[in-house]
Symmetry: none
Subunit: 226 residues, 2 copies
DNA sequence: AGGCGTTTTACAACTCTTTCACAAGTCTCT
DNA sequence: AGAGACTTGTGAAAGAGTTGTAAAACGCCT
């Protein structure tokens, strides 16, 4: 569960926010002052900080830079009554990731929180998976989806696809593919690669005769364009 | 260098933004329509997208979802004239990472761009790549871009270009080029080099009859001026 | 044996390379 | 400066080589 710290001295706002965020499934704590915030930050991992700039005691910018100094790397969303550009500039320069001016819509704030969390480190370690066009490849499940529909690839073709994906964008020579997929000492013809590429195109390309992703590089090999 | 795509149909705004971003050291391209944007997205890696919602042709939201469908994972900052919360909600739901309403301060926008890039994946390890004029050459992808458009070079011509790039600025004699590109024991005429140089000029020079980069050194060979 | 996946083969289609011929340009020598 | 010799640019065309593709041959497993 994602942990969010709200640093806000006005109880109504803080509690309202907290309630809304908890409905969304976040684990929320509130600090009513900069000192309290720094204390909370020491207590454990944080995934996001919502920081009001107008605080009693330590100034909001100061809180932010002290948080960063303590190694808090979580995205910080600043809440402020001041909409002047100069204030925003100061906020971003201090290391904020977003700056929302009061009054704000709760929905917008929730979505901004969501957007920030989406970009930060994922909750569960993501598995080896790729997408290109309408194709989704999951290495662990060994599955390939085309337009959400499962596509049945032969094992060799799947390995070939993985090899291309692992070097997506780069050209892979036929012999490189042979080494990667067939192993160091295989006695297989380079033309075999072509046969499997044909299978991939037939099953994954909209128009196999005019491939948009599995591209031929004449006299060299193949390249996967994502 | 971070690559930013601006999708904006109003030239003044697009060019102003572009200039500002370029001063900050970003590599900026502009698409004036959704179609053009999708096309650009196919051409290569993007680190950030700035998307105006009001576009001719394909709707901005549609552009965003199609970009995502193509596997474009870069953060997207929406620019919009509409400040209603309902619009913002729609934008974030579509997968945007930030939403800025017009009119906006340039400074704020630059900082938001910076904040988004800071969070996204670190700059990719630099690979063997060169630029001269409006030409970009990527050895690993074996791709050549002219004004962001992919140029199709024949294999031999590409090798020749690499040889010239490897010694950019220096004169390379025809026989040196033959040795480098064709191999130690080739029985090919030196005139063959000329034929491939002609291809390079035809495809890469603005005015092939008056080359500005691939220069002839009379009685010796060729020289690439970057 | 039958089914499945893999590899090879054969041929057609296609792309690239090289050479040639002539035009245009550059240099050298008087 | 001008003539002649030589060098380079360029488009076309032959042919050499590469790739796409379908089908056959092979081998493995049940």
């Amino acid at each position: 569960m994602r942990r969010i710290l709200i640093i806000e001295d006005e109880p109504n706002l803080a509690l309202g926010l907290r309630a809304n965020l908890e409905v969304e499934g976040y684990d929320v704590s509130v600090a009513e002052s900069g000192e309290a915030a720094l204390h909370s930050a020491d207590a454990g991992r944080l995934d996001l900080v919502i920081l009001d700039l107008m605080l009693p005691g330590i100034d909001g910018f100061e809180v932010l830079s002290r948080l960063r100094a303590r190694g808090v790397d979580a995205p910080v969303l600043i809440l402020s009554a001041r909409a002047d550009e100069i204030d925003k500039v100061r906020g971003f320069r201090a290391g904020a990731d977003d700056y929302v001016t009061k009054p704000f819509g709760v929905m917008e704030l929730l979505l901004r929180v969501q957007a920030l969390l989406r970009r930060s480190s994922p909750e569960s370690p993501s598995r080896q998976a790729w997408r290109f066009g309408d194709i989704e490849v999951d290495a662990e499940r060994r599955s390939v989806l085309r337009a959400r529909e499962e596509v049945a690839l032969t094992p060799r073709a799947f390995e070939l696809l993985l090899a291309l994906l692992a070097n997506a964008g780069a050209v892979m020579a036929r012999h490189e593919l042979l080494r990667t997929v067939w192993g160091y000492d295989s006695s297989v013809t380079t033309r075999t690669v072509d046969a499997h590429v044909a299978e991939l195109r037939r099953k994954l390309e909209v128009n196999p005769a005019e491939p948009r992703h599995i591209l031929t590089v004449h006299k060299v090999g193949y390249r996967l364009r994502t």
